[in-house]
């Protein structure tokens, strides 16, 4: 196993990785920009190296500084966290060239999943469902009819030059296709001067449900069940939960199998996540694969009672996995707490936290690098805490999250806590009847 791991990240995930390393008896090196000199990851690591000024491009994203930091501290592995260099194939490659183990997949695995069209082709070859549609533009309405018959209604026609919903038509049966085709072309031509149209399967009531997978260096992969991340605002996840309220045993089995196929297709090494869109009929379609640990990984940890960062480190160290899939026991929810003003168009709210009290008690976990007196730098993302609860049932977990949000005190900056509180009380959330469109019609009081 590794003797010393450098964490090429900041904030809560850097602290998170340090915690597991300490529990495993592995030494840690924090790297930090001048803006983060007073950060807790710097305080709690065994060593800390200042790698550059505040802008990420000159510090957390600047590969030579990070490699140099690993070299001068003799770190034998680098944990990239999420964001920053975590899905950077070049970085993974350079680590290898410097004989530093990149804790994650190889450069070529990252590349094969990093490129969308490449990933899609790989998934089709592996038998993982992707959103079906025309290959490129449609030549005629008749070609459209043939394809629609194959992929099944409803379908959506989209303008290739499109945007803002213009030139888009959802078609529910063949009778309506010709009219829709004509009007979509006309609208697209008028709006964009380009009437090229392509077709996709229309996803009814889409849900974002992802499957956690783990693969070892010996080609074995398993899944750790799902996370429902449908509560999103502009593609930013706000709340995640597991099990998904929309899940069935059958669907979990099929999605789990598909996710393992996806991992096997690239002989995936490490922990990763296969993201799917699921429609109301419980058809699911591959969106993308994240080849790193995710922000929302703790909810999986809580329901399978296993530390995923420990698993990452063990796999990177060459340990092989059991081959067993894991299924949720109990119910876990995570709320992301951001220093943003939800009443002011989610404007970031950097500044100094004057008061801080994190909720506690049975089934409550707080992953945070913030504390009273901490100054949130304006240079990085605004997430300052992850609040995770676990309980025996979804109902209990919601009640627990409601009281934990109520108990969370952060003063001095604006946070998304009031937003989260309102979502947790929203009927659609409470009954588990929400899709990725949930926030589009959500009104903050």
């Amino acid at each position: 196993m590794f003797k010393k791991i450098l964490i090429a990240n900041r904030g809560e995930i850097a602290l998170r990785v340090i915690r597991t390393c300490k529990e495993m008896g592995i030494k840690t090196v924090a790297v930090y920009s001048t803006a983060d000199a007073n950060s807790l990851h710097v305080r709690f690591a065994d060593e800390a190296v200042c790698i550059g000024p505040a802008p990420s491009s000159q510090s957390y994203l600047y590969i030579p500084a990070i490699i140099a930091a690993a070299e001068i501290t003799n770190a034998d592995a680098i944990h990239p966290g999420y964001g920053f260099l975590s899905e950077n194939a070049k970085f993974a490659k350079i680590c290898g060239e410097h004989r530093i183990k990149f804790i994650g997949p190889t450069a070529s695995m990252i590349e094969r999943m990093g490129d969308k069209s490449n990933a899609k082709a790989t998934m089709i070859a592996a038998g993982v469902p992707v959103i079906p549609g025309s290959e490129g533009l449609l030549d005629s309405v008749d070609e459209g009819k043939v394809i629609a018959q194959k992929i099944g209604y409803p379908i959506i026609l989209k303008a290739t030059a499109g945007g803002g919903g213009k030139g888009m038509r959802v078609v529910w049966n063949e009778n309506d296709l010709e009219n829709a085709w004509n009007s979509a072309r006309q609208e697209a031509g008028a709006a964009f001067g380009n009437d090229g149209i392509y077709m996709e399967k229309y996803i009814e009531e889409p849900r974002h449900i992802e499957i956690q997978v783990v693969g070892d260096q010996y080609g074995r992969a398993v899944h750790l069940s799902e996370r429902d991340c449908s509560v999103q605002r502009r593609h930013q996840k706000l709340i995640e939960e597991t099990p998904s309220p929309f899940m069935t045993n059958d669907l979990r089995e099929r999605m789990g199998e598909a996710a393992i196929k996806a991992a096997n297709a690239i002989s995936y090494e490490g922990v990763g996540t296969v993201e799917f869109l699921v429609d109301k009929h419980r058809n699911f379609y591959f969106m993308e694969m994240n080849t790193r640990i995710q922000v929302e990984h703790p909810i999986t940890e809580e329901v399978i009672n296993y530390d995923l960062v420990r698993e990452q480190i063990k796999i990177a160290g060459g340990v092989n996995i059991s081959g067993q899939n894991y299924f949720p026991e109990g119910h876990a929810i995570e709320c992301r707490i951001n220093a943003e003003d939800p009443y002011n168009n989610f404007r970031p709210s950097p500044g100094t936290i004057t008061s801080f009290h994190a909720p506690g008690g049975h089934g409550v976990r707080v992953d945070t690098h913030a504390y009273a007196g901490y100054k949130i730098p304006a240079n990085y993302d605004s997430m300052i805490a992850k609040l995770i609860v676990v309980a025996r049932t979804r109902e209990e977990a919601i009640a627990k999250m409601q009281r934990a949000l109520e108990e969370f005190v952060i003063e001095g900056v604006h946070t998304t806590i009031p937003l989260q509180q309102q979502i947790l009380r929203d009927e659609r959330f409470v009954y588990g009847e929400y899709t990725t469109k949930f926030m589009e019609t959500f009104k903050l009081n």
Partner: protein, 164 residues
């Protein structure tokens, strides 16, 4: 908070007749003792904007206020006494600092040398690349703070220069 404002503020305290003032806000801590005579050693302070890559950063060393939650410094703190007279040349990058261009060559500079702005004062190796470090200011090298072939962090003080 701008240093100019603080200077003015300190002056006003001295003028006010108070003998001791301590002020702590979310942004800074300030403690001023006045002899209530004379015009006191004013703290002059000059911080140059950090620039990417090989540019050398200089600043007057000043005792910095303690953060509320003190992070144990992993490197030695800049020499506080130097504050009023010397400029510090700091490392523009993380890596291994060498005082000579090659093992069989002499040091770029030694203590007591007078250097000119732009003069090479050392190299820093990172990812097997050697980056020459140039002095951003001229003056007499009072103290070299880092030995040959030593790991350095970004912003770590390398040497003190007397610009006078």
């Amino acid at each position: 908070m701008d240093l100019k404002e603080i200077q003015e503020f300190i002056k006003s305290i001295v003028r006010s007749g108070a003998t001791e003032v301590k002020l702590e806000t979310n942004d800074f801590k300030l403690s001023v003792t006045t002899p209530n005579k004379g015009r006191g050693n004013e703290v002059v302070s000059y911080v140059q904007q950090v620039q990417p890559q090989n540019q050398v950063v200089t600043e007057y060393i000043q005792p910095t206020p303690q953060p509320l939650m003190h992070v144990a410094a992993k490197t030695e703190a800049p020499v506080a006494e130097a504050g009023e007279k010397y400029l510090t040349i700091k490392s523009p990058m993380v890596g291994t600092f060498y005082r000579r261009p090659a093992p069989n060559k002499p040091f770029f500079i030694n203590e007591g040398d007078v250097i000119k702005k732009g003069q090479a004062i050392g190299v820093i190796e990172a990812m097997k690349l050697f980056n020459e470090i140039e002095a951003e200011i001229g003056g007499k090298v009072v103290k070299i703070l880092v030995d040959d072939a030593t790991p350095v962090e970004f912003d770590q003080p390398l040497m003190l220069v007397d610009p006078a």
